[in-house]
Symmetry: C2
Subunit: 314 residues, 2 copies
């Protein structure tokens, strides 16, 4: 009883290519107590990051658990095998390294999309849902699948790779080595590529034509302001994503699909065409029954809420 | 104890568009005791079929269970909602009707692909596997998905509809109302359509050119004899199926994919290009690890073995 009372805090760590966010939560009611943001690139090694986290959390003795969400994080072996968007090379034994610095805490690693799915179930719109999908649209496209109220891992922990389903065989070259992966069309990068292609072939006037460089945020803003090229780029992106998600719906029969990540903040310009095409591509038994919704997690804390959900017991 | 000893038999019923196969098995060792084959079209109503089954099984008192595999059979509500390849119209309350005729038996309905997956696990090559997929290639294309050793149903019992994932948006019109479904390319019907298209556009000599009508069996035989058009049709069919199955692999991470059903009997002319393209389309982490194999269930009894697996307790 004494031991339990001491372990009053749980931690969620969201590792991204640019920032590492650390949230400390009260274990009993899951209220966020404190939050830290670090620059990913300042850490030359993963050990130096773990050391920094130990120093930051020095006042929180005897943590109950630490959940870590990271691109390509593997729950089964506790390592990040190969993450193109992180600077650390090779296979990183994340859980093993953290165990050295936090000897008494329960430490769990998972990929960011799986963490987001658990976060959606604990804090967001998926409370009580037994079958749903979480899609993260950011630099890449990730997927977390909940079946019978639990994450679907597959035989090796690598299930949910919706971003690497193939939209177009022999299409755009993906970082993963394959061609035509969904990720190359429906991620922030994919949206930018599609927009640049449109800017070259369309004669339509567009506020994007005068810019030296464009990114997903600029395209979203332009689309929200009615720019025809930006709107067309979102229409194309949404149609491609809708087609792949309708395949997931046929395979998995999820009751809902939630979308989180940077690109999901585009709002209506994404979700309106996305749901239109999704309904079009769905099986008749699922039309107007399965829907795609924006994640219910607050933008700023979505990552740490997902990460902490990894170590919360129901 | 006495009651249990009396219930010595379990029954598997495989309902197809042409034949209904009924297998009686010993409950203790699952040995096939007797088998019956009926013509599907001779039964104007489903009640008349249930009555016939009752008469056939009159000597097997107090059956332990009856498993029924049928196209579009829904495990959740025990009905066949809409099966384009069966002559009975509307929604058929299969379990409810069978309960009237077999008051003491445990009766379970499921779709044929789910039954095949359970059959593969109990009698075939999937013994001990926790994550795998079963694909049935026949008049249609069905899928049964095993996750953590159990069938994946989704929120409404309709998961596994790999045949209705979309290979080509705006492609061939499918019976389900959608366009470009995998079923229209990788089923026996799909193979025939592809072959007919090739026969029209290719000048290559082919033994198929002189035939008044062709079916999947004729094409398989021609391919096995080296006919270039038949081989090309299998190559195209295999590539399409491989692409869709690689998407399933990215989503589900199954350790294996088994293929059963009429078209799977084509053997090497199907499986050789199928595995070649499948490995090509797989994520690098899965290459040469996940494979596609012919089902281990004996052709003639695959349906009844799957059906009886529905009522066998582990």
């Amino acid at each position: 009883m004494f031991l339990f009372e001491k372990k009053m805090f749980v931690v969620g760590i969201d590792i991204g290519g640019t920032f590492i966010k650390i949230g400390v939560f009260q274990a009993d009611n899951l209220q966020l107590v404190q939050k830290f943001v670090l620059n990913t690139t300042q850490f030359k090694t993963f050990e130096s990051l773990a050391l920094e986290v130990q120093e930051i959390l020095i006042h929180y003795q005897d943590l109950q658990g630490i959940g870590i969400g990271a691109p390509n994080g593997n729950y089964f072996d506790g390592t990040i095998k190969f993450a193109p968007n992180l600077s650390w090379q090779g296979q990183i034994p994340v859980v093993q390294i953290f165990r050295k610095f936090f000897t008494n805490a329960h430490i769990v690693l998972n990929n960011d999309a799986n963490a987001a799915a658990l976060g959606e179930m604990l804090f967001g719109k998926a409370k009580g849902l037994k079958h749903f999908m979480q899609i993260t649209l950011g630099t890449g496209v990730g997927g977390g699948i909940i079946v019978n109220g639990k994450l679907l891992y597959g035989f090796d922990g690598n299930a949910g790779e919706i971003g690497h389903t193939i939209y177009e065989p022999d299409g755009r070259q993906c970082n993963c080595g394959k061609k035509g992966c969904l990720e190359m069309y429906a991620s922030a990068r994919g949206l930018v590529m599609t927009t640049k292609e449109l800017l070259m072939i369309r004669k339509t006037p567009s506020m994007l034509k005068n810019l030296p460089e464009i990114d997903a945020f600029v395209i979203s803003t332009a689309a929200a302001n009615g720019d025809p090229i930006a709107l067309e780029a979102f229409e194309i992106t949404a149609k491609i994503l809708a087609k792949q998600l309708s395949d997931c719906a046929a395979i998995l029969a999820p009751s809902k699909i939630f979308v989180s990540g940077g690109l999901s903040k585009a709002g209506t310009v994404l979700f309106e065409p996305l749901n239109k095409y999704f309904q079009h591509f769905l099986l008749s038994i699922h039309k107007n029954i399965i829907s795609i919704e924006q994640s219910g997690l607050p933008d700023d804390n979505a990552g740490i809420l997902g990460a902490v959900a990894l170590v919360v017991k129901k």
